[in-house]
């Protein structure tokens, strides 16, 4: 048998699928679930475009087999905004010009979320380390780091004008 039955919880909803063993989690997310916010770029675990959260931890979904994600809870970029309202991290990315071409953005935001869920008050260095596996080729790191730091402030309830 070169196919397996898997059950994964993606953005709060369980999905039962039969997948070829060689299929990656990224391919299942994009092709079977049609969640194309997760990007495919290097496809070798180097660039971070395909970052999703697996049981709350950032992983490169291009080098995780779908069968290996069986039973796991996956968070993709599509789940961050609620009823049409962007997540504070997304709002800060927009407000601070931390997006240029936008291809790295979903992965970048999920790495930021993984950090802020664990550490609500990170230093600048901690932010840089958290996104060290996410490449931006538009050279936008300064604005990205600032966006994450100010999203952290907002999520802590400080300097919060918008919520």
């Amino acid at each position: 048998m070169k196919k397996s039955q898997i059950k994964i919880k993606v953005n709060g909803e369980w999905h039962e699928l039969t997948v070829p063993n060689k299929k990656t989690l990224l391919e299942v997310i994009r092709e079977d679930l049609n969640l194309t916010g997760t990007k495919k770029l290097c496809n070798t675990g180097e660039c971070g475009s395909c970052t999703v959260l697996m049981d709350g931890m950032a992983v490169n979904s291009c080098i995780v087999l779908a069968v290996d994600a069986n039973g796991k809870e996956i968070t993709t970029i599509e789940s961050l905004s609620q009823i049409g309202k962007l997540h504070p991290i997304q709002e800060e990315f927009v407000a601070r010009g931390a997006i240029q071409c936008g291809f790295c953005t979903p992965g970048m935001i999920l790495s930021a979320k993984a950090l802020l869920d664990q550490n609500p008050n990170p230093t600048e260095l901690e932010v840089k380390k958290a996104i060290s596996g996410n490449f931006c080729r538009c050279t936008g790191y300064v604005r990205i780091v600032n966006a994450i730091l100010s999203a952290a402030e907002r999520l802590r309830g400080e300097n919060d004008e918008r919520i």
Partner: protein, 290 residues
């Protein structure tokens, strides 16, 4: 990537059985951060993949002063970074773990996978070697234990026999008063392999070097202990001259190659300087490894 059969054994016995049954066609899956790319690139074409994650205990870390540290081969870098005993007694291993890849890689990649991939530049190797780790190996026969140095058989080659699985590492508690560090030289501070990696662990008393351990990564087909440099420095006075000479000995023991990352000569220069710096840093008064 070609398709393959996939198994999730629940016990080591079952995993060994599958490994014996499928012979060369089988590959073990731990974190997969190396294996997935080897498969995508077509360098490895397994007929069967044996995922070890459902086997209980392989992802455990335990510690006691008497027994030392036990790290299961499926422990991830992220687990290592959050382990208290590793923070307290094996800071060089923690340091090496913090320098590997990026969060996405550290959340998935495992210490056993890193060693079994047997890259000469594996960051965990110098750290495990400096603590004189032992590898616990399960197989069709009796469990056996070998020093970590003996698991490396060449570039991306390990000495495990048919049907054998690396299950955990055992590290004795280092002597009180030993200090050390791991210095990794790479152009990028994340997502990069070392051009050269140097780990040292030293203990001094009365102005003399008592115990010295030096391990080098990416300077030979396997990670190596610089034993001549170690024995040279043992018993020597703690001063700049002896450290410089010891670094020179470490250069003599290195046999690096020229590749895309650096030339042979550049690597030899790095061995010299990094060994000097690592020893100097380790004996400096206020030095503590974070």
């Amino acid at each position: 990537m070609e398709n393959f059969e996939y198994f999730e054994p629940k016990t080591l016995k079952e995993a060994v059985h599958l490994l014996v049954k499928y012979k060369q066609g089988a590959r073990l899956l731990a974190g997969g951060t190396d294996l997935m790319n080897e498969m995508k690139g077509g360098y490895v074409k397994p007929k069967c993949l044996i995922n070890l994650k459902k086997i209980k205990g392989l992802d455990k870390i335990s510690y006691s002063k008497k027994e030392g540290l036990s790290i299961g081969s499926l422990v991830t870098w992220t687990n290592i970074l959050s382990s208290k005993p590793i923070y307290q007694y094996f800071p060089i291993l923690r340091e090496a773990a913090s320098l590997i890849g990026c969060p996405q890689i550290r959340n998935v990649g495992t210490i056993g996978g890193n060693i079994c991939h047997a890259s000469p530049s594996a960051d965990s190797a110098p750290a495990l070697m400096i603590y004189e780790a032992q590898c616990v190996i399960a197989g069709p026969g009796r469990e056996r234990i070998i020093p970590i140095e003996e698991i490396f058989a060449g570039v991306q080659k390990i000495s495990l026999k048919k049907g054998e699985i690396l299950t955990r590492f055992r590290l004795p508690t280092p002597d009180t008063g030993s200090k050390g560090c791991y210095l990794k030289f790479s152009p990028r501070r994340a997502m990069d392999l070392p051009i050269v990696g140097v780990a040292v662990l030293v203990r001094t008393s009365d102005g003399t070097f008592q115990d010295v351990k030096i391990t080098l990564g990416a300077v030979a087909p396997t990670p190596i202990r610089a034993r001549r440099a170690e024995s040279f420095l043992c018993g020597k006075p703690v001063n700049d001259e002896s450290i410089r000479k010891a670094a020179g000995e470490a250069v003599m023991e290195s046999k690096p190659i020229t590749d895309v990352r650096a030339s042979r000569d550049y690597r030899l220069g790095l061995v010299n300087e990094l060994t000097y710096r690592a020893i100097t840093l380790s004996i400096s008064k206020n030095f503590t490894l974070e």
